[in-house]
């Protein structure tokens, strides 16, 4: 027993669990906001209005065309500098995940809505449903089902992306691991456990998603 509790694999855990809480918090809150952004910009990308489409396209392409590390630094240092205020690290991280994931989710939303057969809209409209009703009751429920696998995928990506926030000293999982081996010089053990913690979240998610995908296939 002592052999285990004395080992660094074990002693790093309190640090990592604290880090994991922040990692999950940033991921979940960021993705919830990101989903709202994604839905708004996804529909904007489907709009026939050139201006709305244009704004959404600029957003999506700007985010997808720049590294997330640059984005987090831009939000945390760049915006603070510009506005002369300090943004809280956690807030900056949540904003970064939201904006970043929002762009990818916008493409997920656009793709899913676009993939629904045109006949569905025609059938809805032909019984007298309005455009909005058709979207809400006919198109969206079908599109949302198709969005579940790519959204789960985005969850895994965003979760891993939070590790980048260690550069601004957010106490997330990787950062806490670094803190530990900074004190103890036990980098191998600490980083092994950091990776194990990520895998504990990501592997079951991947397995679950594969199951959902198979079910949606039929």
């Amino acid at each position: 027993m002592e052999f285990i509790t004395e080992s660094h694999y074990y002693r790093v855990m309190p640090f990592l669990l604290e880090g994991l809480v922040w990692t999950l918090l940033i991921t979940f809150v960021g993705l919830i906001i990101g989903f709202v952004l994604g839905a708004i910009f996804g529909f904007a990308r489907l709009s026939k209005n050139k201006l709305i489409y244009g704004i959404a396209t600029v957003y999506v392409e700007a985010v997808r065309g720049t590294p997330i590390l640059a984005q987090i630094l831009f939000i945390y240092f760049g915006l603070s500098d510009l506005m002369g205020v300090n943004i809280d690290k956690i807030t900056a991280s949540i904003i970064a995940i939201a904006i970043n994931a929002g762009a990818y989710i916008a493409e997920i939303v656009r793709g899913a809505v676009y993939s629904i057969d045109k006949g569905q809209e025609e059938a809805g409209r032909s019984i007298g449903l309005t455009r909005n009703q058709t979207m809400r009751y006919i198109i969206w429920p079908q599109a949302f089902r198709r969005m579940i696998p790519p959204l789960g995928n985005q969850f895994v990506i965003s979760l891993k992306d939070t590790s980048l926030f260690s550069v601004i000293a957010v106490g997330e999982l990787l950062y806490m691991g670094q803190q530990y081996y900074g004190m103890t010089f036990q980098a191998f053990q600490a980083l092994t456990m950091v990776c194990v913690m990520y895998l504990i979240i990501t592997v079951p998610t991947a397995i679950y998603l594969r199951r959902v995908e198979r079910r949606l296939d039929v």
Binding site: D117, G119, E122, R125, G128, L129, Q142
Partner: protein, 240 residues
């Protein structure tokens, strides 16, 4: 009941309808036949504005559909449409497919809408399928549900866009049977079809379309028995 005046429809530079004039009277069953690409489906889709009209007038029970102030949703609820590929809502049960129109468009309560839906399901011979999902139905059953879905809105006109073209041959009969019953009950129907037997037997009038115009129209026995236009003769000699 429906008056179409000099209807033109273009997709980009491609003019699909080149001046259609037609008059469809109440309780009349009009079948539209013609080769593919003749514009017959486009014509039908203009009758409930699933296609925007380029120019001309479509007047349904006094309402001109090309009037920009018209509430098209209201008109569509009076004009039922049945599609070649059924277009049932796959995430809803058969019963929900039928009740969604009455509930969302007419504001009926769920129970009220089901009271409308169940007799319709019986009418199309699918009472036992109320709680099934569309994917478990055969093509013919799907199309009969689609007909019931349209009828639930109590339309005064029904449009059929090649309703049996996507069906296995042995399933065609059931769908035509339902349509025949509707015709007998006095429903005003416009049917784009390749089923010449149906057109001849059930149609009050047959329109032959080709190259974006109505080439010939007549009573079925006359159009099939003694076509006047050489294009009609050529088409019928190929399909009959």
């Amino acid at each position: 009941m429906i008056t179409v005046k000099d209807l033109h429809k273009s997709f980009g530079s491609n003019e699909v309808l080149k001046g259609i004039n037609a008059e469809i009277k109440e309780k009349e069953v009009v079948c539209v036949i013609g080769p593919s690409g003749s514009g017959k489906s486009t014509f039908l889709r203009c009758l409930n504005l699933l296609e925007e009209v380029t120019s001309g007038d479509v007047i349904i029970q006094g309402d001109n559909l090309t009037d920009p102030k018209i509430n098209i949703n209201k008109i569509r609820s009076r004009v039922g449409m049945v599609f070649q590929h059924f277009n049932l809502f796959p995430h809803k049960t058969v019963l929900e497919n039928i009740t969604i129109g009455p509930i969302k468009v007419k504001g009926m309560k769920k129970a009220e809408a089901e009271k409308v839906a169940r007799p319709l399901l019986e009418k199309v011979g699918l009472s036992d399928k109320a709680d099934a999902y569309p994917e478990s139905l055969s093509g013919g059953q799907k199309q009969r549900v689609a007909i019931a879905r349209s009828l639930a809105m109590e339309p005064s006109i029904m449009l059929f866009d090649e309703p049996t073209s996507a069906l296995d041959p042995e399933l065609v009969g059931d769908v035509l049977e339902v349509m025949k019953d509707l015709a007998k009950e006095g429903m005003t129907m416009v049917v784009v079809t390749h089923e010449m037997g149906f057109a001849r037997e059930v149609g009050d009038r047959v329109l032959f379309m080709d190259e974006g115009v109505i080439m010939e129209e007549d009573l079925p026995e006359k159009l099939f028995g003694d076509p006047q236009n050489p294009r009609t003769q050529e088409f019928l000699s190929k399909v009959l």
